[in-house]
């Protein structure tokens, strides 16, 4: 039996009576770089939002690394090793890149009121450990030169890189990437692709929503296709792309 990092079964979610997820079943293999594609309105982002704890599920279960995480809180999931990025790069406007990275570091005793007031050596040690990690991640994602800049001063591409950096900072086992290359120039898009491949090689499972088929073909295996709130196909990109029903739903019928 295949062991999945993320196992979703019968997942449902409706908004004001409109069913957006209509019983999603899928399994993301541990260590894989899985692509999630589908036409607009297929329910991909909603799936991410339910899995990551932003919205409660209307039914079904989500298991992560073997434990049931259905309707867990986002903060619990992050600490359990499930990180995510957002389609529209987000940030705390008046905090610097460095502060963002530090915030996403886990196990900081200084996040406790008393420890913060008294000032423990554990807090200082954790700060040093996290700062070292933050600097190395910033160097890796070419954010070192803007590390003291507030997020509002970053370019669109740098904000996309910060999304990745932030997810990495929490030392995740798996990252859900929601269109990490959308809206950036082709050079940066393929650079981001290389970052993601490298991250995946380090053993972090990736589930990524992406619309650029060339990138999906190059990066993802397997690929899962969603349409109308359900999974309609799964397999290697070439297999998926050859299927007539998939072409009709998403890729556009060939003449």
């Amino acid at each position: 039996m295949m062991i999945g990092a993320l196992e979703i079964s019968g997942l449902r979610r409706a908004f004001y009576g409109v069913e957006v997820l209509r019983g999603v079943d899928l399994c993301v293999r541990e260590g894989s770089f899985t692509g999630l594609i589908g036409p607009n309105g297929a329910g991909k982002s909603t799936l991410f939002n339910v899995v990551s704890g932003l919205y409660p599920a209307g039914g079904g279960t989500v298991r992560f690394a073997g434990s049931d995480i259905t309707n867990s809180r986002p903060e619990t999931l992050v600490r359990a090793g499930l990180a995510r990025s957002f389609q529209l790069a987000r940030g705390f406007p008046r905090l610097t890149v460095f502060q963002h990275l530090m915030l996403h570091g886990q196990d900081q005793p200084g996040d406790r009121l008393l420890a913060a007031l008294i000032g423990s050596s554990g807090t200082r040690q954790a700060e040093n450990r996290l700062a070292e990690r933050a600097h190395s991640i910033a160097r890796r994602l070419k954010l070192a030169h803007v590390i003291d800049n507030p997020v509002t001063a970053l370019s669109g591409g740098q904000k996309k890189l910060l999304e990745i950096a932030r997810a990495l900072m929490s030392e995740p086992r798996m990252i859900l990437f929601d269109e990490p290359m959308a809206g950036v120039n082709p050079t940066l898009a393929s650079e981001i692709g290389e970052h993601l491949t490298a991250i995946n090689r380090e053993g972090i499972t990736i589930l990524i929503i992406e619309h650029d088929m060339a990138l999906v073909r190059r990066l993802c295996d397997p690929v899962i296709v969603m349409a109308n709130g359900r999974v309609m196909a799964e397999g290697r990109f070439e297999e998926i792309a050859a299927r007539e029903d998939v072409q009709e739903a998403y890729l556009g019928r060939r003449h």
């Binding site: 990551s52 704890g53 932003l54 809180r73 986002p74 903060e75 992050v78 600490r79 990180a83 995510r84 987000r90 940030g91 705390f92 406007p93 008046r94 905090l95 610097t96 460095f98 502060q99 530090m102 915030l103 996403h104 886990q106 900081q108 200084g110 996040d111 406790r112 009121l113 420890a115 913060a116 007031l117 000032g119 807090t123 954790a126 700060e127 700062a131 070292e132 933050a134 600097h135 190395s136 590390i147 003291d148 507030p150 932030r166 929490s170």
Partner: protein, 299 residues
Amino acid sequence: MLSYLIFALTIGGIYALLALSLNLVWGSAGMVNLGLAGFFGVGAYASAIATGAGAPVVFGWGIAALAGVAVGLLVTFATLRLRDDYLAIVTLGFAEMVRLVALNERWLTSGADGISGIAAPMKAELGTGGFNLFYLAVVSLIVLGVWWMLARLDASPYGRTLKAIREDQELARFAGKPVLRFKYEAFALSAAIAALAGALYAHFQSYFSPDHIQPLITIYIFLGLTAGGVGRPAGAVAGGYAVLLFIEATRFAADVLPGLKAVEVAAFREILIGAALLIMLHLKPQGFLPETMPKAPKP
């Protein structure tokens, strides 16, 4: 004149404490508390009643702070399910509720008469002049201590998380932060400081009545904090003293404005205070001591 200055600096210290309280909850955590006067009142009554029943004054201050924590937790709990802007409305209502309870529960608060003869520590031993100087020292030391504590908090990982919650609380949860716990703690600590300020005020004046719980105090503190620098404890202290000194300075406006009746001067003072805020916001929107962004330590 000297005793007037001592009086003004003591009240200025109490305003500084209120500004520190507001800065923690609004400046750092982004929760709008329009009920500052309510927490101030809770502290004043808690300490007045406790010391009236025979507790030593320092003990009364402790009880005031604890009462602040208790009502702070209650107000946060009551507003958890509400959107952020409703917190402002609920806290405004809370302050009015405290005033009405103080006005009507005569058995506890003596109603509109207020509580008089509140114990003034060391007044018998020191005499009036000595007491005022002693009390100024006590209040100033407490301001210094609370400022030191909150500046530490501001610079700690905890303070960083509060600011993240201020900016985007949903994103803060995706950073792994239990946002609710932070909000409860920040609000409770802030309420405790406001209540302590109320207790200090009550024991300084030896008298406290429902009339002291006015939304105007809350507005003055918002004004002071905005002028001093929202999001920075030092800005809160500077703003607290500055607003009180400015309000007191407008008293002397009557001397330089001939031809105004007393009522007109009172109204003119309010105009001056409003105008000062507008000018301040226009010239220095971030305040005298703006919030700073810490630099990353060198790798």
